[in-house]
């Protein structure tokens, strides 16, 4: 039945209902969040170390798992609907799969999406889940921690259980379930710091927070565990059946949580998975922060909420482009949105859009599979992004969900330091430490031994001692009395000859050494050592890159694997593997990349150590090859453990020297030559940009950084950079960011950039951040400026130098009372804005323009006299209204996000307690189309709700 609403304006007044009280009173370290579209059942509420959810149907509170790291100072939370329980497919079937799926029926009815590997991009509904799962093995821990379980009685194959789950069924830690990252002969691993970049969603240790506990091996308390997998059935057969190269995400939702941490990395960043009721510690901002996150801060995600902004079929595509001739898009309207291939060639790929014209998209990185005319696509908000603002600063941070890292500008690429690499299909590559060429390696071991000996057990390892060295085998089957009936090759060794009756000595177990084996063949074998524990399995296909000898750079099947870091392959190369390039104090190498020469010059590279609390170094890239980045001196990255990301040089929210539309510094070329760029939409002052540099964001010349020698009203002139612009060339002139050409740091520091020609004191009062080089991360106020010199207020703690890059921000520092909301579904510029209160007792609401990465800082509310400070809370209704509760007054305004007009909405007649930081106001949409506003009491346990009508 359709909704009938007979409520009349003025006749009927809003009424607040009291909801049942929260179990714990609100404080500065508390906040709430709900689903992206505000259409769920729960409001999630975190206060200190306690986490609850309010059930809007039952009017009651339920406690959930506490975060791994106890929040401090303040918190910011945001629910993400389009994320959830992740893992790897263990085996596929026509209408289902085997996964580590928690067991029970928790996953039934959920949507499962194949996110990587075979079958990528498919989405189905899970109809049923095997209740108890198949128990592959069970054990009793002899060594245990949050990160691993060892049972010394086991003789497992290397990585035979990757992706399966372990259930602790008894002893300390019982009731927890975690997926296995990798395993050796007797140990299961659940967390590895190097996997934060390699596989961040399958890298979760056991929780040690009550009521859970990390497993132990103490007698009487030792963890009793099962190794399990579950079979799921989906609602319709797969178009492409997933396999063990496939990763999945079950869209059960999650919650992002940012909070302060007193010492480096100065913040905690955690993710709560709703389906498994488990927190995952993610990588913190790290070196981009110089002190503990503080003052007040807020986070916001973008995503696929609502209908797509664009939905159609490609008419053509290129290495980084997709063209759809039926479109009539506004230039650059969808920059920083996400382009997804939803069907046909290239299905499942998603990329950040870096430019769009009327009919053409360009994306940040080359496609793995270039879409075709059968490729359907959509444009959504970018699900790979979470923004963070506040911290008493002008800097905005951006978190990248899929690969788990932070930037302060648009990200271009990321990876791991890898001199040489070895990769399983569709997975991140492992760094290779060495590839040693061995002749006479065993390439085939007859499964049937010559003599079976006695006393052996399945899984026993043995050395093959006749005719060669370090060859090993494994017992695969025995008969009565421990007589070996089947063996396998465990390590190839070297200098062997073929033949039967090769003697063995047992490595582990009680065999009588009477086992002799038959070497079927020998050959040239490559002994590979990787830099970190791998999750490769015997016979897996792997591809090697980065070796000087091209014979190494091909695909192999693993011949034998005898540890988490060593395995053998059959090779044809004539010598040992040698890396084309290695990590140095000025070079980062990633052998997996195929960059265009110098496409990254002028961008910022951030180098991080492994783990969730990284220290980082930032440098301006001065050159790049296909696999290397060159920069000023750094502490060299570590092969196989250090991570890096590449981002644009201008920080989010840069100032603009000229804001008039026809004087601005960005646009598309409308024509040009090898030495000129013409933009006929401009009306620049003559030589307004002389001496400046421009960068090519997209299109022909992408990545170039060119010095302008002169300009007319529409034309920039420069020395030939080696390319000729065309109408795909999108450019930005470096007006408020660049590289310092001189620095002083006494009394009031000065930054000189001789390429600039600023108006005197146009930056006075603004703020500047060192974005790379020496002094990274410092933000400082500007007192005054000349044409080329900025004078700061005071000095930097760490003096910048001529390696230091900077960005001048448009907005003042954020303060207490700051909130941020993505306006994703308004009538006007839909999905284009992030609205943010400035806080600190100001009356301003700034708006971040997503497609330009700029702040509109004069977006005046009307009327605008109300100021906001600590206690201010906001909520977006998913349409054209944003609600704003001032301080702790209980007065709630309604902001029309299209007209920016402000009207009254509600006023609480009950009272708040003392105003505290944090957002605890949400809007919940019912399935019938009603909207309720929920608001929690400051410093209290009450929650009210009112119908919006």
């Amino acid at each position: 039945m359709a909704l009938t609403n007979n409520l009349k304006k003025i006749v009927d007044l809003p009424i607040f209902e009291l909801c049942n009280q929260a179990p714990t009173a609100t404080s500065a370290v508390s906040g709430t969040t709900t689903t992206d579209a505000s259409d769920g059942r729960y409001i999630y509420y975190l206060v200190g170390a306690l986490f609850y959810r309010y059930d809007c149907q039952a009017d009651m509170w339920q406690q959930l798992a506490s975060p791994n790291i106890t929040p401090a100072t303040a918190v910011a939370l945001k629910y993400t609907t389009y994320n959830g329980y992740r893992g790897n497919i263990l085996a596929g079937s026509a209408s289902g799969a085997t996964i580590g799926g928690m067991g029970g029926y928790r996953l039934a009815g959920q949507r499962i999406r194949i996110t990587n590997g075979t079958g990528i991009g498919q989405e189905r509904t899970i109809l049923s889940v095997q209740t108890t799962g198949d128990t592959l093995d069970m054990g009793l821990a002899t060594t245990a921690s949050a990160n691993l379980l060892t049972d010394t009685t086991k003789r497992w194959e290397i990585n035979q259980f990757i992706g399966y789950q372990v259930r602790l069924v008894y002893g300390t830690g019982a009731s927890q379930v975690r997926r296995i990252l990798h395993n050796d002969s007797n140990t299961l691993y659940f967390y590895d710091p190097n996997y934060q970049q390699l596989d961040p969603w399958n890298n979760t240790p056991f929780s040690a927070i009550a009521p859970y506990a990390a497993p132990v091996a103490t007698a009487g308390l030792q963890a009793n565990f099962y190794i399990e997998g579950q079979t799921i059935v989906v609602d319709s057969p797969w178009t492409v059946q997933p396999d063990d190269s496939s990763s999945f995400c079950i869209l059960g939702g999650g919650v992002w949580l940012a909070s302060a941490f007193a010492t480096a990395p100065f913040m905690s960043w955690q993710y709560y998975d709703v389906l498994s009721d488990a927190w995952i510690t993610k990588t913190a901002i790290g070196g981009l922060l110089t002190a503990a996150l503080g003052t007040d801060f807020s986070i916001e995600r973008t995503g696929e909420v609502g209908t797509p902004f664009v939905s159609s079929t490609a008419t053509s595509a290129g290495a980084r482009t997709l063209t759809d001739t039926v479109q009539t898009m506004t230039d650059n309207f969808y920059v920083n949105y996400e382009l997804r291939i939803t069907g046909g060639t290239g299905i499942g790929q998603k990329q950040r859009i870096v430019s769009n014209s009327a009919t053409r998209f360009e994306v940040a990185k080359p496609w793995d599979i270039i879409p075709s005319t059968d490729s359907t696509y959509v444009v959504y908000g970018n699900t790979d992004i979470v923004y963070l603002v506040g911290n008493g600063a002008s800097t905005m941070y951006q978190y990248h969900v899929e690969n788990d890292y932070w930037t302060i500008s648009e990200a271009i690429d990321d990876g791991q330091c890898r001199n040489m690499s070895v990769a399983y299909p569709a997975q991140e590559a492992f760094a290779m430490t060495s590839g040693v060429r061995n002749t006479g390696g065993i390439t085939a071991l007859n499964a049937t031994p010559t003599a079976g000996g006695t006393g052996y057990a399945i899984g026993d390892l043995f050395n093959i001692t006749t005719g060669g060295t370090v060859g090993k085998g494994r017992v695969e089957a025995i008969s009565a009395g421990g007589v070996v009936t089947v063996v396998s090759l465990y390590s190839s060794g070297l200098t062997y000859t073929t033949g039967a009756s090769k003697a063995t000595t047992i490595i582990s177990g009680s065999g009588n050494n009477g086992l002799t084996v038959n070497i079927t063949s020998v050959g040239t074998v490559g002994r590979i050592t990787v830099a970190s524990n791998c999750n490769l399995y015997n016979a897996d296909p792997v591809t090697i890159k980065g070796c000087t000898d091209a014979a190494w750079n091909t695909t192999y099947n693993i011949l034998a694997i005898d540890s988490l870091t060593t395995f053998d392959i059959i090779i044809t190369a004539a010598g040992n593997a040698a890396a084309t390039a290695s990590q140095t104090t000025s070079i980062i190498v990633d052998a997996t990349k195929t960059w265009t020469i110098d496409e990254h010059v002028g961008k910022i590279v951030t180098l991080s150590i492994a783990g969730q609390a990284p220290t980082t170094q930032q440098r301006r890239i001065t050159a790049n090859t296909a696999t290397t980045l060159t920069m000023a001196t750094i502490v060299a990255g570590a092969n196989g453990t250090s991570r890096y990301c590449i981002s644009n040089p201008e920080a989010f929210g840069r100032a603009e020297q000229w804001e008039q539309f026809d004087k601005r510094n960005v646009g598309f070329a409308t024509g040009g030559s090898s030495t000129t760029l013409v933009d006929s939409t401009k009306n620049w002052y003559v030589n307004q940009w002389a001496g400046y540099k421009f960068r090519v964001y997209a299109g022909t010349g992408v990545g170039a950084e060119v010095t302008i020698t002169s300009n007319t009203a529409t034309t920039l002139t420069y020395t030939a950079p080696g390319f000729t612009v065309d109408t795909t060339t999108k450019y930005i002139i470096m007006d408020s960011f660049g590289l310092a050409t001189a620095v002083t740091n006494t009394t009031n520091a000065t930054i000189t950039d001789s390429t600039k020609n600023w108006k005197v004191n146009q930056w006075a009062g603004r703020r500047l951040r060192i974005t790379a080089g020496t002094g990274i991360g410092q933000e400082i106020a500007i007192t005054s400026n000349t044409a080329t010199v900025i004078t700061c207020t005071g000095v930097f703690t760490t003096a910048p130098d001529t390696t230091s890059c900077y960005t001048i921000f448009s907005i003042p520092a954020r303060s207490t009372g700051i909130q941020i909301n993505w306006i994703y579904n308004n009538t006007g510029y839909r999905g284009r804005w992030l609205f943010s209160t400035r806080g600190g007792g100001t009356n301003v609401n700034d708006a971040f323009i997503i497609n330009e990465s700029l702040w509109t800082y004069t977006a005046l509310l009307n009327p605008q006299t109300e100021t906001v400070n600590t206690g201010t809370m906001t909520a977006y209704d998913g349409a054209n209204k944003m609600y704003l509760q001032k301080d702790a007054t209980g007065r709630i305004f309604q902001v029309d996000v299209n007209t920016i007009s402000v009207d009254g909405a509600f006023q609480l007649t009950d009272l708040h307690g003392a105003a505290v930081l944090g957002n605890r106001m949400e809007i919940m949409n019912t399935t019938d189309g009603l909207k309720y506003l929920y608001i929690m009491q400051h410093t209290g346990t009450k929650m009210w709700r009112a119908l919006i009508f």
């Binding site: 609403n5 409520l7 009927d12 007044l13 009424i15 607040f16 209902e17 009291l18 119908l947």
Partner: protein, 247 residues
């Protein structure tokens, strides 16, 4: 008190045993008494009187001391250890009296015998018999006649309180014209300001004027205050909002 010699009553053996059990006399004392009962009749009455005097003296002193002396002191006074059940009499030199040796009263009261009962200047005095304090020193009746002066263990708190109350009431005391004493109590005609501690309970209050603020009304008539407000708000919602929406 004995009124005459006829007051004495003959004791049977069983009755003597009762006395022994009751007072725990030393065996020597009882044997002496039994022996004397078996003498000729002429002396019998006199001997019984003498014996009775001995016994009465001892019993009287014992009973008196039992009343006024603490238990531990009792034992010390009577020459035995606190753990002993044997009671004896000591002489002035603090030596125990042996009834076998000192059981005869002198024929004439003027002649002092071993009992050291002296009659002097027409008065009967037990010159060397006294009561000791816990510390073993003898109580001096001249200066230590009050119970309080005897020691803390016998200090009567009630007596002290009584003195204190009397002292406090003294300002209220007045003498009437007839010379009688009485207490005068003033009538408070001003307002009384009530102050209730957080954890106290206020019983019935007839009228409450203005309550400036009440920060937390937990219960009203055993009904949770929050629930009452919540229910009220929900009723308002149901009547004003929900009733105008249909699906």
């Amino acid at each position: 008190m004995l009124t005459s010699g006829n007051s004495f009553r003959l004791l049977t053996k069983a009755e003597k045993n009762k006395i022994r059990l009751s007072f725990n006399f030393p065996k020597e004392t009882l044997a002496m008494a039994e022996n004397k009962f078996e003498t000729n009749n002429a002396k019998e009455t006199e001997n019984k009187k003498r014996m009775f005097l001995k016994l009465a003296g001892v019993v009287g002193l014992s009973a008196f001391a039992t009343l006024i002396v603490p238990k531990k002191a009792e034992a010390l006074v009577f020459g035995s250890t606190p753990a002993s059940n044997v009671v004896g009499v000591k002489d002035s030199a603090n030596l125990r009296i042996n009834p076998a040796e000192k059981s005869q009263l002198p024929t004439a009261l003027t002649a002092l015998g071993n009992l050291k009962v002296a009659i002097s200047e027409g008065s009967l005095s037990v010159g060397n018999v006294g009561i000791k304090k816990i510390d073993g020193s003898q109580i001096n009746p001249a200066s230590e006649e009050g119970l309080a002066a005897v020691g803390v263990s016998v200090n009567d708190q009630g007596l002290w309180m009584l003195r204190k109350i009397t002292s406090l009431l003294k300002p209220l005391g007045m003498v009437t014209g007839a010379g009688s004493n009485r207490l005068s109590v003033d009538v408070n005609s001003g307002a009384i300001t009530a102050s209730i501690a957080a954890t106290q309970t206020l019983g019935t209050v007839t009228t409450v004027g203005t309550v400036s603020s009440m920060t937390n009304l937990v219960n009203i008539g055993n009904v949770n205050g929050f629930s009452m407000v919540k229910d009220s708000a929900r009723n308002a919602y149901a009547n004003s909002i929900r009733s105008k929406i249909s699906f």
